[in-house]
């Protein structure tokens, strides 16, 4: 089995889906220009040479426009994979993202559907407040979007393929530190998220969380980059005598509560970790659900370890403070013991 980076796995997923289904096409900024980047994080690099510029469609810098165009194409039976260079730019397309894509099917009484994918890189990487957010919660709040957030190359490929085949709008949040881009596009502090990718085709169904590490004392629920930080924390916690279980939800909508509850019933403790800011974050929703459904199994209040309620700062020491890391997660867990 070849080992692929997260970015390469995403590219392979797009390539395979475009070969499988001629309705699939990519639309975004700087995705297919010769001598260009292949998207902000090289995911579509080389694809325009294979599929041509009609199916790897470069747009003006018009996020609202390209999102609306993707919606319209999806309504007419195409399978667009749109992307924005940074998730922060989704806010330029908020009308299409909130009022159009996820509502058209509902308000037409089910007559139309919008089978589109929107890919968006998240995460703080020393770029300051407007290129650093993790925005999953804004969209998790919006009925009508499915949301995937792969933490490794294997999941990235399998979830993106499922997203393309889904008949609903799907957002795929990708973390900048996981892409594994090399050379000049290398991201500082990058994490190796590469995986062995099977030769045979596979997809990953939505709504199936992954138990990353088994443990008996506490459940740590973490997504994207936080899966790795939780892993580092779990190693440290082992030395503290705490055996942590780590769960990666893989999709936020649908959310696999069953796997989470099974873990919480076993450990009696839950710490939720996300790089998205604290207040109104998706972790708050999960905490509320856990309280409603498995309260009796809890031995301690649910703890959240999240970015603070500020914009992302630029300067590295402040950014390190902002992004939940190993030590904050460890302290969060220990505060419950």
């Amino acid at each position: 089995m070849p080992k692929l980076t997260y970015g390469e796995a995403l590219r392979q997923a797009i390539k395979e889906e475009m070969e499988r289904d001629e309705r699939v096409f990519c639309i975004g900024e700087d995705i297919g220009i010769e001598g260009g980047f292949g998207g902000a994080f090289t995911v579509t690099l080389g694809l325009s040479e294979i599929f041509g510029h009609e199916r790897i469609l470069d747009t003006p810098i018009s996020e609202a426009g390209l999102t609306g165009v993707a919606i319209g194409a999806a309504l007419m039976g195409m399978r667009p994979i749109a992307d924005v260079q940074y998730c922060d730019f989704l806010f330029c397309a908020m009308d299409q993202m909130i009022n159009e894509a996820p509502k058209i099917r509902y308000m037409s009484g089910g007559a139309f559907s919008v089978p589109m994918v929107m890919r968006a890189p998240v995460g703080a990487t020393a770029r300051g407040a407007q290129h650093a957010q993790s925005v999953e919660s804004y969209f998790a709040h919006c009925p009508g979007w499915k949301i995937a957030c792969p933490s490794n190359a294997y999941d990235a490929k399998g979830l993106l393929k499922t997203a393309v085949r889904d008949d609903n709008p799907v957002l795929v949040f990708e973390h900048k530190k996981l892409y594994g881009a090399k050379g000049i596009r290398k991201v500082e502090g990058a994490i190796d998220a590469s995986s062995e990718i099977p030769d045979e085709e596979y997809t990953i169904p939505f709504g199936q969380a992954r138990v990353v590490r088994e443990g008996k004392d506490v459940t740590i629920l973490a997504n994207l980059r936080m899966v790795y930080e939780a892993g580092f924390a779990a190693e440290a916690l082992a030395e503290d005598g705490v055996d942590a279980e780590i769960i990666d939800p893989r999709t936020l909508n649908p959310f696999d509560y069953e796997t989470l509850y099974r873990s919480v019933r076993k450990t009696g403790r839950l710490v939720i970790v996300h790089e998205d800011t604290l207040t109104g974050g998706w972790g708050a929703e999960v905490a509320a659900k856990v309280m409603e459904d498995v309260f009796d199994y809890l031995d301690a209040p649910v703890k959240r370890v999240c970015a603070p309620d500020t914009p992302a700062p630029f300067s590295p020491p402040m950014e390190e403070f902002y992004v939940p890391g190993k030590e904050r997660i460890r302290q969060g867990v220990l505060s419950q013991q």
């Binding site: 426009g65 390209l66 999102t67 319209g72 309504l75 058209i104 509902y106 007559a111 559907s113």
Partner: protein, 327 residues
């Protein structure tokens, strides 16, 4: 930019009469709906289309069933012109389960997949990029269909207008933007919010052809749009058409029109698109007074039937609220 006035009609008299019939259908439907709303018989609000019938009808007469339109918060005229049955349209306004959106949409989101009308987009300008996307799909699939996006003068000041027209132009998409300039965005007159005199002038900024039509003359609209549709269908790219028109009612049901100049109103109301169309049809011998009376009587009967259908239809089950989100 070209200015279009109606030429001597070179079309079939049957088509002319059919267009007139559709205009009457829209007018009578809207008049009837207006009264029902004033009676409190219908929930919500409504944005009526009287006065602009020539635009919807003149445009849609050029379209095939599998061509698509996007519409606005004022969509009833577009729906009727594109062929949405008035029974299901009426039932939707009543919030009934037999409505064209099963009661999920309401007045501002009517649509019907079977006749090529997307659910109306009630966010001003929201449909413009979506229409471009429909047109992109036609292009990628090598189909000769066309998308038409109806917009008001207000939408021409939204950012989406710029992004949509630019993308449509650079990719030569088969889309026609039809701006119904009725002089007011809600209560704000267009000259207060636009430095240029004509919306159509803006097309030049995108390298797109444009035309201005008398939006109260269905023949002028028909001919102007025909050229644009033919261009789009044959791969010649998009067009922006501005139809100068006027709404006969207020912006929405609670609007008493206090902001509109009385002389302006009188001048426009005197240019009733139905009267203009009827006079032209009579002049070419395509319609008699008797025909016209018959058409009105038939339409009134259709509308009565639609009311009866809508009123007799069941309301949706409350928990149907939870259906139709996911495909």
């Amino acid at each position: 930019m070209s200015r279009k006035t109606a030429q001597k009609p070179d079309m079939q008299p049957e088509l002319l009469v059919e267009m007139y019939r559709k205009m009457v259908r829209i007018r009578r439907f809207e008049d009837a709906i207006h009264l029902k709303f004033l009676d409190g018989a219908l929930p919500g609000t409504v944005h009526l289309y009287q006065g602009q019938e020539a635009v919807a009808v003149g445009v849609c007469a050029n379209l095939r069933t599998d061509d698509v339109i996007t519409s606005t918060h004022r969509p009833h005229g577009h729906a009727i012109a594109k062929g949405v049955p008035i029974k299901s349209l009426m039932a939707e306004l009543y919030g009934k389960s037999t409505g064209c959106c099963k009661g999920k949409g309401g007045s501002m989101h009517v649509g019907d997949a079977s006749v090529g009308m997307l659910p109306a987009i009630a966010i001003v300008g929201g449909g413009l990029t979506i229409a471009a996307g429909c047109a992109l799909a036609f292009k990628l699939k090598r189909k000769d269909n066309v998308a038409v996006s109806f917009l008001g003068d207000g939408a021409a000041n939204e950012g989406d207008f710029h992004e949509a027209l630019n993308m449509a132009a650079i990719w030569d998409l088969p889309v026609v933007y039809v701006c119904e300039n009725n002089l007011y965005g809600a209560s704000t007159r267009v000259n207060k919010v636009m430095k240029v005199k004509d919306v159509a002038e803006r097309a030049r900024a995108y390298g797109m052809p444009s035309a201005i039509a008398d939006g109260n003359d269905v023949l002028a609209v028909y001919e102007c749009v025909r050229e644009a549709i033919e261009r789009a269908r044959s791969g010649g790219g998009p067009t922006l058409i501005e139809c100068k028109t006027y709404r006969r009612c207020g912006h929405s049901r609670s609007d008493a029109n206090a902001y509109r100049d009385k002389t302006e109103q009188q001048e426009w109301l005197a240019r009733d698109p139905l009267v203009i169309a009827r006079d032209k049809l009579k002049a070419v011998g395509a319609l008699t007074d008797e025909d016209s009376d018959t058409i009105e009587a038939e339409i009134d009967a259709e509308i009565e039937e639609a009311f009866a259908f809508a009123e007799a239809s069941p309301l949706p089950a409350p928990e149907d609220c939870l259906k139709d989100l996911w495909a």
